[in-house]
Symmetry: C2
C-alpha cells in the first residue's frame, strides 16, 4: 500500500486525481505499479487499476493474473471492478471508501451481483484509509481554492 | 453498425472473440473504429468499446465525448458500460444481447443502478442482432469443433 500511495502522490503532482495501484504476484513480488493518467493520456479509462493490470499481464505474458493481488488507494469504480474480474485477480486490497464513485462496496456493488462471473476470492477494504483519503481531500481542496487564489491575484 | 460488424469479422479472423465498435460524433461522422484485441494485446481490458472510446478521445483532443454515439456489435459488459459513462457517451447502440456477460440489459444493469453518475441519454438495444449473434455463434462453434477435428486427425 505504501507503494500505491507513492504512485497516488505522484499523480497529484501531475494534476491528476491522486490514485495509485500496484499488482503483486502470488508470492507478493511486485509485477506492476501505476498512477491515474486520465488527463495526461486524454483517456477516461486510464485509471491506475487498469494501467497496473495491463502492465502486469504484459510482464507475465498472460491475460490472466490468477493468484495475483491488486492494491489500490481508492475503492475501484464499476469499470475497474469489472476489469479486475476479467483479469482474474485473486485478491483486492483497497484504501479509501468511495461512496459516490465506488463499485465494490457502493454503487453497483459489482461482486455482489448474482450474475457476476469472476470475483476476487478475498477483498480487504479500508486499508490505510486515512492516508489515501487525506491525499484525495488535499487534492480536491486545492482545486476548489484555485478560483479564490486567482481572484486574490486578479481582484 | 455495418462498420462495427466489419471490425468484428476482422477480429474473428485473428482468433479474437468477434466484437467490433465504432464512435461517431454528434453529426454522425466517424471518429474511431476498433475490434476486440484481448488475445493479441494480452490485455483483458482491450475490448472493442474501450479501444474505440480511447481512440476517439485522442482524435478530438478531449477526455469527454459529449454528444457522441458508440455503436458496438455486442451488449457491453459492466467494464465497458462504466467506461462509456466515464467518457460521457450520449447514445449507445448495440447488436446482440449478452445474457451471460452483458452489463446494460443483463447482469449489473449498470445504467439502472440508482447511484449511476453518468448514463447515455439514449440506448438502442438489439440492432442487427442476428448478424452480430451469427458471427459470435460461428466463432464459438469453430472453437468447440477444434478438439473433435484434432481427434479425427489423431485417433
Amino acid at each position: 500500500m505504501a507503494m500505491a500511495l507513492e504512485e497516488a502522490a505522484q499523480a497529484a503532482r501531475c494534476g491528476e486525481v491522486p490514485v495509485g495501484a500496484v499488482v503483486l504476484d502470488a508470492e507478493g513480488r511486485l509485477l506492476a505499479r501505476a498512477a491515474n493518467r486520465v488527463e495526461r493520456d486524454l483517456d477516461a479509462s486510464a485509471h491506475a487499476e487498469i494501467l497496473a493490470l495491463r502492465r502486469a499481464a504484459r510482464k507475465i505474458g498472460s491475460v490472466r493474473l490468477e493468484g495475483c493481488t491488486l492494491v489500490v488507494t481508492l475503492e475501484p469504480c464499476a469499470m475497474c471492478a469489472a476489469a479486475l474480474g476479467h483479469f482474474r485477480i485473486r485478491r483486492l486490497v483497497y484504501g479509501a471508501y468511495d461512496p459516490k464513485g465506488g463499485g465494490v462496496d457502493h454503487g453497483a456493488q459489482l461482486f455482489r451481483q448474482p450474475g457476476c462471473l469472476h470475483r476476487p476470492q478475498e477483498i480487504i477494504s479500508g486499508m490505510n484509509e486515512r492516508e489515501s483519503g487525506a491525499l484525495l481531500q488535499a487534492f480536491f481542496r486545492g482545486l476548489r481554492s484555485l478560483p479564490l487564489a486567482e481572484n486574490r491575484r486578479n481582484p
